[in-house]
Symmetry: C2
Subunit: 182 residues, 2 copies
């Protein structure tokens, strides 16, 4: 908007110069012409600078747009995957307590297959579960909900995972909820 107004002002200015240049050619003295040459030179230079600035702004905007689109593309499904994490959590929990009777065998197998298929789609999208147990506690990846005594581990080590943490490509999508040795 502002730029457009500039361009219009520019147009008016030039009309004025043209009128001066064409209006009374014989009557203008050398001094007057000299002044016009100087004014027009300044005017021309100003436009040239505005043009260069406008093009530089355009270039920067274009570059920023490309970067933003790449970023958008890379994490396009980030929100949806976040919302699917509770489904994955429940799926994993349900399969931990699947029945073992003969009547339910093929159903359980079917559900296990769907679970794997589901995980593979998300894996292909760049989702990975964090390895936590035995790792040093790191607030970037872990959310400590409790400190516990441990004979096995020294202080500040993740000893139990209460909820899985996930990375989407190189970003933490959800930190792992863990217990830490204290």
């Amino acid at each position: 908007m502002e730029d457009h107004q500039d361009a219009q002002t520019a147009e008016n200015d030039t009309e004025e110069f043209k009128a001066q240049a064409a209006g009374e050619p014989a009557a203008a003295s050398a001094d007057e012409l000299q002044e016009r040459v100087q004014a027009l030179t300044a005017q021309s230079e100003e436009y040239m600078q505005r043009l260069a600035r406008s093009q530089a702004d355009f270039d920067n905007f274009r570059k920023r747009t490309i970067r933003e689109k790449e970023e958008l593309g890379k994490y396009a499904s980030s929100k949806l995957i976040s919302e699917l994490l509770p489904v994955i959590d429940n799926f994993g929990r349900a399969l931990e307590t699947s029945p073992e009777g003969e009547g339910s065998e093929s159903f359980v197998k079917g559900v296990q297959m769907i679970h794997r298929q589901f995980e593979n789609v998300l894996l292909a999208e760049g989702l990975t579960a964090m390895e936590t147990i035995g790792q040093p506690f790191n607030p970037e990846f872990h959310q400590a909900v409790m400190t516990v005594e441990s004979d096995e581990y020294e202080e500040g080590i993740v000893v139990e995972e209460l909820q899985k943490g996930y990375l989407l490509k190189d970003k933490v999508l959800r930190p792992a909820m863990v217990k830490v040795s204290g």
Copy 2:
């Protein structure tokens, strides 16, 4: 790139004009000055036009970018949801044949709950299953894999659904695979 070169050429031109204007002020005749005034006026006008064009291009690019980003945002999860459709298909099929024994009751309930939770996440994202049976066949929404005789329906009506079709917001994400009365 091209624009940048323009701006550099512009700079050189102006330097030349400045040299002319400042170089030999006393020696220049009125005719020579008049010529310079005309040349500078033309030069100035050209820059003004290039500036207006550059700003108009920038404006158009900015508007297009906004539209493209809106589109990207609206259908950001389209690819992932497409890939999840086979998971949904299998989920639905598995639940059609869930066992009824007492030992598996709570497991089946759990899986049903996960299925609903999964569907609700996708529903919130804008995914809807098409209603097909009894509808006139429409190649925009339906993929006819077979024509069958029907006493119940007149010709060209969807009589059976072999695979669910889905819309994401206002776009067909996957057409329904159907049998049509012939």
